[in-house]
């Protein structure tokens, strides 16, 4: 288990990279730190590793307080974004390096390296240098080096970002299977929301040194707690439109929508994912009226952008159903999929336990 209490890191010059963070990560959990660049996620990972010293707050790993314990004594293994494989050592020596530090005899550590390598399908490459390996192979050697020392936790800094798009999917699946087999607590940093959703058991979304939301991928995707998370998660950005609640209805961008229970009257922001919108060719009161401005082909679907008064509204429509640019169209949010934010906080109840019609 990894726990943080009031963790704060201030850099010289007054930049607050981490701002009073509290978090608990369960044993064996695959945990993602997600956020745009500059949000503090890498600093947090480095602070957990011990490479940065927090300005205040505490860190526990496996029930022991490690706040002032040097990195080498925390029993964690870190995989760096550039893998940091030692170019002057072959694959065996790289994988066995942590064991060499622990003074494991040469024959035993080489056996362990070979065993770990075979588990990660690297047996053919044991005598190669990192420079002679492909990007994917280097990434697996870096993983093997982390695995070989049987740490209490893995820390991965953007483990997939140096791979090209096709390889990344393969490596993602591999990484998830490996983590499931080893069942070692793993914290990884990514700026790619798709990667976080696909890999993690839980995600902490970060912005400006704080967590904006911590939750399972489903929670974070379906019920983002604030508009920042709402805009950040999802492969197409969520529609976020200003409106008002009152008289038993939501009035948003010319559409009159049903008012979810528990939303008090007043100004609100209405959010709905483009994937949860349908296009109607005929006018409807519960729809956003507009003119088709752009149609983008996504392969199995199309992303349609409507110009509606002063707003741009997006909807994803299945292939074959796309309208042509310049025609009028009406975008209808699917029932129960709209989210209502007031003062940047989610106020609409979840459909499961709320007054879902």
């Amino acid at each position: 288990m990894i726990a943080l209490r009031g963790l704060t890191k201030e850099f010289p010059g007054g930049v607050r990279a981490l701002d009073g963070l509290d978090l608990e990560i369960a044993d064996g959990e695959f945990f993602a730190l997600l956020g745009p660049s500059g949000c503090g996620k890498t600093t947090l990972l480095r602070t957990i590793a011990g490479l940065e010293t927090p300005t205040s707050g505490n860190i526990w790993i496996g029930g022991t307080e490690v706040t002032s314990v040097p990195p080498g004594k925390r029993d964690v293994a870190m995989v760096f974004q550039d893998y940091a494989l030692f170019p002057h050592m072959d694959v065996t020596a790289n994988i066995a390096y942590p064991l060499r530090i622990r003074k494991v005899p040469r024959s035993r550590r080489e056996a362990r390296a070979a065993e770990t390598a075979s588990r990660l399908s690297l047996s053919e490459l044991l005598s190669r240098r990192p420079g002679q390996l492909s990007g994917g192979q280097q990434q697996r050697v870096a993983l093997a080096r982390a695995v070989a020392c049987h740490p209490r936790a893995f820390l991965f800094d953007e483990p997939l970002s140096n791979l090209d798009a096709r390889l990344r999917l393969e490596a993602r699946t591999f990484l998830k299977r490996l983590q499931r087999e080893l069942a070692v607590t793993t914290v990884f940093v990514t700026h790619d929301q798709g990667e976080a959703l696909a890999l993690a058991d839980r995600i902490a979304v970060m912005s400006a040194g704080r967590f904006t939301q911590v939750g399972t991928p489903t929670e974070v995707f379906q019920r983002p707690a604030n508009t920042f998370t709402a805009a950040f998660i999802g492969s197409t950005p969520m529609n976020l439109l200003p409106g008002t609640a009152g008289d038993g209805a939501l009035r948003v961008a010319g559409a009159v929508l049903p008012l979810p229970g528990g939303v008090p009257d007043g100004p609100i922001v209405y959010g709905v994912r483009p994937e949860y919108m349908d296009l109607s060719p005929t006018p409807r009161a519960d729809a956003f009226a507009g003119k088709v401005a752009v149609v983008e082909n996504l392969g199995t679907a199309h992303l349609v952008t409507l110009e509606s008064r002063e707003h741009l509204i997006q909807a994803v429509v299945p292939e074959g159903a796309e309208p042509s640019a310049g025609t009028a169209a009406w975008a209808v949010p699917r029932p129960g999929r709209g989210l209502v934010y007031r003062d940047d906080r989610l106020v609409s109840p979840s459909p499961a336990n709320g007054e879902n019609r």
Binding site: V15, A17, S37, G38, C39, G40, T42, T43, R46, E52
Partner: protein, 305 residues
């Protein structure tokens, strides 16, 4: 935060003591054998310190006497003038122009001609100074020198009759390599498309050089001139060929200082002249470092110990 990510706090940042411990030994050595001598030069230059005799035991501070004496000394003024000739003739004109010409002619050549030429020019630069000094003594020897044999001028005493031209040509031979390599690197950075554009516009070679090449390598030219002037100004290897003679006709400043201070024993006076050399060096070096700082060129300096 990406800014901070680029400069993660390093291992030793937390331990400034460790950092100091790593840097200190080097700083001590530099302090004792580089900084201290420089400061001491100033002091010694204000005394009448001598290698032997009464003043050796008990040197007196004589203020600026050494400097006024130097300025009134025919030999010093002569030496200064020879030094100017030496630097202008062998470095600014000789090495820089010949180095550029070689780099220009070889710029898009490949193969053995280029390799042999560059190799020979470099060889002249890297051989120990005692060796090249003797090679030139042999080349220019009055009775049996190769040059006289080739020119059919038996008995021409180059080193005695023309000591300055001799050491100037010698230093061109000795130091052209640096200019050649610097300009070679600079020319390879001139985009070929620029030269082709100029050629299509009908520019002659001279016009190409003037309008395209020179503006592009201005910084390199300046770097080159500053460095080779600085090194030539401090060059002591001609001592091994003419030792300043005959009759001080090739006694450039470094040789003059040696002859006056360590040979002649007038340490205080020599130190005063040394200080003047130091000041001139400072002008060159400050100019060069300003240039370096503003551009961080591909040519970082090498020390001239």
């Amino acid at each position: 935060m990406s800014r901070l990510k680029g400069a993660p706090s390093p291992p030793s940042a937390a331990r400034p003591v460790g950092t100091a411990g790593f840097v200190l030994p080097a700083l001590v050595l530099i302090g004792v054998f580089l900084v201290f001598p420089a400061l001491w030069t100033i002091y010694l230059g204000l005394t009448d310190y001598r290698l032997t005799g009464l003043e050796a035991a008990d040197p007196r501070v004589v203020g600026l006497d050494n400097y006024t004496a130097a300025l009134g000394d025919e030999r010093f003024r002569g030496s200064l003038w020879l030094t100017v000739q030496f630097v202008l003739g062998s470095a600014v004109i000789g090495q820089a122009v010949l180095g550029f010409a070689i780099a220009w002619v070889l710029r898009d050549r490949r193969g053995p001609v280029k390799r042999v030429t560059e190799g020979l020019v470099l060889l002249a630069w890297i051989l120990p100074s005692s060796v090249v000094a003797f090679l030139w003594i042999a080349l220019l020897d009055r009775d049996e020198g190769t040059l006289n044999a080739l020119l059919h001028t038996p008995g021409a005493a180059w080193l005695l009759d023309h000591p300055m031209p001799s050491i100037i040509v010698f230093n061109v031979w000795r130091g052209t390599a640096f200019s050649m390599m610097l300009y070679g690197a600079a020319l390879s950075n001139v985009p070929p498309s620029l030269l082709e554009t100029a050629r299509l516009a009908g520019a002659s070679t001279l016009q190409q050089l003037r309008d395209v090449v020179l503006p592009h390598i201005k910084g390199h030219v300046l770097t080159n001139l500053l460095l080779i002037s600085l090194w030539t100004f401090n060059d002591f290897s001609t001592f091994q060929i003419t030792a300043g003679g005959p009759d001080g006709r090739s006694e450039i400043l470094p040789v003059y200082i040696y002859n006056v201070a360590l040979s002649g024993g007038r340490l205080g006076f020599g130190a005063a002249i040394s200080f003047l050399v130091l000041l001139v060096n400072l002008v060159f070096a400050v100019a060069y470092l300003r240039l370096l700082r503003s551009r961080r060129t591909d040519a970082t300096p090498k020390a001239a110990p």
